[in-house]
């Protein structure tokens, strides 16, 4: 009886989960095995694994995959380290501590679309960045129109916008570390720096795992920035996997192929997350 009641009260959530999450997931797995054009669903044909094998021979997707990897490798470590450093700094009682904490966190509250639009103006030929540079006598450029600077520009923006949230997670982790450990260490004559390495970092491992895994997954799925700022250009230098699959699905109407790409991306993210969990010893106690 109790179980039934529980189920009843959970049903709104369970039903929406089934309708808007589980069903699409299964449906797109089926789609990935079909040649499906959304404009003409009656002309659907069976493709088997052809969509998957095609993905491995697609030079544009290869370029997108390399770009995405570049994005992940370029942003995740920097964001993690900077967020950690900021958290450690802001965990002390500094004047204006709240102001800084709020300041670093605010970008998290702003929609990525808005941030992208603002940075698009910032990076423009006659944007604020170039105006500031010209005051220093440095010649500017159209940052998003140069294949060498477009993607790094987007990465920099991503780091700036993401850092506050991960800083907050680290701060929570820091506050959970018992004070006694630091007191005992100081009595034993341990330096501040060695306290960070011997006490702080080991205790932050579980939080770091969350930060790194979540941020990696999010970075593999980078889309909005590209969609708003560059649409994959110039010279496909900012083309990412999710943006590519969006175009396949909604510009070229290759829904089946796009679904196959989505599932391949899922497999990659799943593998990377597993490796990260193993590496950061998921579930093991601190010091274990």
């Amino acid at each position: 009886m109790r179980a039934r009641q529980t189920l009843f009260f959970l049903s709104p959530w369970l039903l929406t989960l089934a309708a808007f999450y589980l069903f699409p997931v299964v449906y797109s797995l089926v789609l990935s095995l079909l040649n499906f054009n959304p404009l003409n669903p009656s002309a659907t044909t069976w493709a088997g694994l052809a969509n998957y094998s095609r993905a491995f021979q697609d030079p544009l997707l290869c370029k997108a995959a390399v770009n995405t990897l570049y994005f992940v490798v370029g942003t995740v470590p920097v964001t993690t380290v900077l967020a950690l450093v900021l958290a450690i700094l802001l965990n002390r009682s500094l004047p204006g501590q709240t102001f800084f904490r709020a300041g670093f966190f605010i970008p998290t509250l702003v929609s990525m679309v808005v941030i992208s639009l603002v940075f698009k103006q910032l990076y423009a030929q006659d944007g604020i960045l170039n105006q500031a540079l010209s005051l220093l006598g440095i010649p500017g450029r159209a940052w998003l129109l140069d294949e060498r600077t477009a993607f790094p520009g987007i990465m920099l923006m991503d780091i700036w916008s993401a850092i506050g949230y991960y800083m907050l997670l680290f701060l929570a982790g820091l506050q959970a570390i018992p004070r006694e450990l630091y007191e005992a260490a100081s009595i034993d004559g341990s330096s501040k720096l060695s306290q960070i390495f011997q006490i702080t970092l080991p205790h932050l491992r579980p939080v770091a795992l969350v930060v790194i895994v979540v941020n990696t997954i999010r970075s593999f799925q980078v889309f909005i920035e590209v969609f708003v700022m560059t649409r994959g250009g110039p010279l496909n230098s900012t083309l990412t996997v999710v943006y590519d699959l969006y175009e396949r699905a909604f510009y070229r109407f290759e829904m089946g192929y796009a679904s196959a790409i989505a599932y391949l991306l899922f497999a990659v993210i799943f593998l990377v997350s597993l490796i990260q969990a193993r590496f950061l010893r998921l579930g093991q106690p601190v010091g274990g």
Binding site: L39, P41, D126, T230, L235
Partner: protein, 404 residues
């Protein structure tokens, strides 16, 4: 016990919602703001009292995604507005109602059948057209010692004027060239290729002719303009033109709407896009616009047909164009309304639309367009010469044409 019958309480409400309207419903999806379209719908309902039109306004951001979803699920409107870029794909999938016989009497009176024509079959109606023309800044012309009453008519004049204006200063540009995004460059290049009588596909659409001398010459000319150009996205170029930083810019009639608001003091003119030489080529431009189509699964064909024919009438399409300023009616003859013959800018756009060209209607055009775009970027960013880039793209399009 009472609770079981509680639903009876809302029964009267449900009943009062039941349809009493005997008129047939026409579901119409379109992109214009309601104040623009509403008067026409009211006029239609007055003229055809048996119909009731249910208008839904789509947004430019996600309207097309919504149309795709509608076709995928089969929950389609009766009549749907469709941008000319998208129409060929739906038409070639055979999911639109064929209207070939119905439009025969009006075929000669309208422009832009290309996007809805597959072979000899027609799958929709041209409603309004939009094209690009050459905007020029008269103040910068005068500053550069050029005659501001004589805007460039041919390519050498265009290049020369751009050079002279660029020489005025570091922050000033002779020309504005769009770049940086995918799916954009070809719209900027093709007008020059078409002006030089080049094209992407052979007349029978069986072969690529992208590496023709005409096309190579056009790309070389466009690349020769780049040193004097501001290279940016279109919105940034439009902005810079309004700020008086760009001398010559190919842009759309949307500027006619925004310049009076954003830069009322700007001294500017609009002319046809220059042709290669005095006795060579045409003043081509990019022809786009809005089509009206009826999905094959629509519930009310007859009503949708009536509504489409009503909306594309010269007076109605003209009234819409006049209200929004960014488009022109798709009729071949200029509308009788003096607004179109007297407004110096609208006059140019109407004339430009008559020599404007629509990109080839081919089921694989989206992919071809990507190939062309890649080639143009390679040439713009000096990775390849215009000749090499077009040769390679030509081969790639040829292989697309033979692929199943």
């Amino acid at each position: 016990m009472m609770r079981k019958y509680a639903f009876l309480l809302i029964l009267p409400i449900l009943l009062s919602c039941a349809p009493r309207d005997k008129r047939q419903k026409i579901v119409f999806w379109q992109f214009w703001e309601m104040p623009v379209i509403q008067p026409q719908i009211e006029a239609f309902e007055k003229a055809h009292p048996q119909y009731k039109v249910e208008v839904e306004q789509l947004t430019w951001q996600n309207g097309f995604d919504k149309i795709v979803a509608a076709f995928a699920s089969g929950q389609v409107p009766d009549l749907c507005e469709l941008g000319s870029t998208w129409a060929p794909q739906l038409a070639s999938e055979g999911v639109l109602l064929e209207v070939t016989d119905g439009v025969r009497p009006i075929k000669e009176t309208y422009l832009m059948w290309g996007p809805v024509t597959v072979g000899d079959k027609i799958y929709g109606f041209p409603w309004v057209v939009g094209t690009r023309a050459l905007f020029y800044n008269k103040t910068l012309f005068a500053k550069a010692g050029l005659d501001s009453t004589k805007p460039p008519e041919i390519w050498p004049e265009l290049l020369n004027d751009a050079k002279k204006i660029k020489a005025l200063g570091k922050d000033l540009y002779g020309y504005g060239e769009n770049a940086g995004e995918r799916h954009i460059l070809y719209k900027k290049y093709l007008p020059f290729a078409w002006s030089n009588l080049g094209s992407v596909l052979s007349p029978d659409s069986k072969k690529a002719v992208l590496n023709s001398p005409e096309n190579k010459e056009a790309l070389e000319f466009l690349v020769s303009l780049l040193p004097y150009a501001m290279i940016e996205r279109q919105d940034a170029l439009d902005q810079a033109f309004k700020q008086g930083k760009i001398g010559l810019l190919v842009s759309g009639a949307w500027l006619l709407r925004t310049i009076p608001q954003d830069a009322p003091d700007l001294h500017y003119g609009v002319v046809l896009i220059p042709k290669p030489d005095k006795d060579k080529g045409i003043h081509a431009s990019f022809l786009g616009g809005e089509m009206l189509v009826i999905p094959q699964k629509a519930k009310n064909f007859e009503g949708a047909l009536e509504l489409a024919k009503f909306l594309i009438q010269e007076d109605n399409a003209g009234a819409l164009a006049k209200a929004v300023k960014t488009v022109q009616p798709a009729t071949r003859e200029a509308p009788k309304d003096p607004y179109f013959s007297q407004d110096p800018y609208q006059k140019v756009f109407l004339e430009q639309a008559r020599t404007a060209v629509h990109p080839p209607t081919h089921p694989k055009w989206v992919v071809m367009q990507e190939v062309l775009n890649d080639a143009l970027e390679q040439a713009f960013y000096k990775k390849k010469t215009p000749g090499q880039a077009l040769d390679e793209a030509n081969a790639r399009i040829d292989s697309l044409l033979v692929a199943p």
